[in-house]
Assembly symmetry: C2
Homo-oligomer: 330 residues x 2
């Protein structure tokens, strides 16, 4: 057989062209093997997996570079909330087409983020699908043995903190899809800010070590603050009282909130902020170290004993009723 | 807020109902967390990821229990070829519907295989898709530090071995889809055997330690023996001479091979057998230990110096020309 007849599969050439440059870790073997090596020296490996589907988690019209960043960052956000340092990721890409105009910016942005977050591509699989495109990522982090921050450790008296601002992404999606927020957002800069927050999460990996040192329980907020807090409380066997007026809101979101209501912000998806419970005696150190790390944290309430859904109260101490807690993709 | 208004998302209840019973490893935290822990004691973690897509890697009419087994086993096959002991897996399930009639046998079969191969479910993500269903699995194995069997170590003089039989799955798919093999397979038992080989791979995990001890290079055969051998040789910077008549063929495949030709068998996908190069002085021990482990291995050729595509020769030493080497999903 001649060399000319040697067939390199389309998948192999696609991987070599777009993704081999991202496989900078020696354990990735330049993507020529079916498997990668994650070396360890006795620490725990944190494993998380999250997929984004076209039309469900991102819009078909979203720029491919933002889709790449979102796919990786939703996983980085999980690692951050668990107190893990990024160690690498594997990628499954279900593609309908393999046009350079989509793949080039996708791969370049993925590579930029892999470098910026020190989370190299270790391997992957590329498959064709006649349906919506999908990017599934499994990401790995490292924590000292036994030190992953779980959901089950929150105790009555702990203070409830959240990073960044809440509801921006839900409003951004609303603006993109012509919802109630769209009409309220007449300021183009505010609109663009919220849309960017929907498309490109800001995972709080700078806070990982601080969460590990101080938090009794933590998770990232991906399906709405109210619902995710309820999950954390249920896992810990506690409840909480949340001061609704303390929930951090961006200036852009503040413009829209009168039109859409608070519920939209605290039950909307895609925040990718960290929610955590911190024992009161550690809260000052937690806040100070977070500030030093450049991550805004806000105390929004208190963990209490009990099994009920967390209570939300306003500045007058009156209960705020939330009709829905979470965004569900189903 | 009353308990009645507490919303458990459809995804959470689906996971609890079908997949929590599979999460038997303590590192899975009963699937209540966003992340899992893979503990380590300084060994290397082998990571592999492979997805199966409805209509591409399996047929929409395939029974759900076989789809589950295939999704996990294609990954177990990679671990086996790399010399790794299974340590666990994470699952991303992109579902169009979530009917119990599909999910119950799927989850039960996945649980059976997870137990049988000692590869527990550690975590996952369930997303909805309007398109074809897809199951993406990332599986983990353990090898002593630095001992993963790669693709790059084959040396001239090594003998080329393959496990099991080759081409059964390609013929099974052909029989299911009314191809040339379908007409030749008048024996229902032979037809059923080949279809089962397509639907349910037999990963050779019993051979993992033996491959690690003796093989200089190895990979699993998933895209056709001829093409995968060419990849292994290219990665190692060598070539090979393969005796086409030594390629192990099942009795059922032998019935069909006259109708479809050898090329169909050695370029068809879905074998999930192990292809490896073994230094000649180790080959007797390799074969003996494989037999003791209950895994059939066949010597099919020799690694030679050179950069060319492996040569295939018949019993008379004449070159066999293969028009295509691999099955490509693209």
């Amino acid at each position: 057989m001649t060399e000319e007849k040697r067939q390199v599969s389309a998948e192999d050439s696609l991987i070599a062209r777009y993704f081999k440059p991202l496989a900078t870790d020696p354990g990735a073997f330049g993507l020529i093997d079916d498997a990668a090596i994650l070396s360890s020296s006795g620490e725990d490996i944190v494993v998380t997996t999250d997929a984004v589907v076209e039309g469900v988690h991102y819009l078909a019209t979203d720029p491919p570079d933002t889709i790449a960043r979102k796919a990786l960052r939703v996983n980085l956000s999980d690692l951050a909330a668990k107190g893990g340092s990024p160690a690498g990721f594997v990628l499954t890409l279900a593609l309908r087409s393999k046009q350079d105009a989509w793949l080039r910016p996708f791969a370049d942005a993925l590579g930029d983020d892999a470098r910026a977050f020190a989370c190299p591509l270790l391997g992957g699989d590329t498959v064709s699908t006649p349906g919506p495109q999908m990017i599934s990522i499994t990401a790995f982090g490292r924590v000292p043995k036994g030190r992953m921050v779980g959901r089950t450790g929150a105790k009555p008296g702990d203070l409830v903190f959240v990073t960044g601002t809440i509801g921006d992404a839900a409003l951004g999606l609303d603006a993109l899809t012509g919802g109630a927020a769209a009409a309220a957002l007449t300021d183009p800069a505010a609109r663009d800010y919220l849309i960017d927050r929907y498309r490109v999460p800001r995972p709080r990996n700078a806070l990982a070590g601080i969460v590990r040192e101080h938090a009794s329980a933590a998770m990232d907020v991906s399906d709405g603050l109210a619902g995710d807090l309820a999950k954390l409380c249920a896992a810990s066997g506690v409840s909480a009282v949340i001061n609704a007026h303390h929930v951090p809101v961006s200036a852009a979101a503040a413009i829209a909130v009168s039109a859409v209501g608070l519920e939209k912000l605290v039950s909307g998806g895609d925040d990718y902020e960290i929610l955590c419970a911190v024992p009161e005696q550690r809260s000052a150190a937690f806040s100070r170290q977070a500030e030093q790390a450049g991550v805004e944290v806000t105390m929004i309430g208190t963990v209490i004993a009990g099994q009920g859904t967390p209570q939300w109260v306003d500045a007058q101490g009156e209960e705020v009723t939330l009709g829905r807690l979470s965004y569900s993709h189903f």
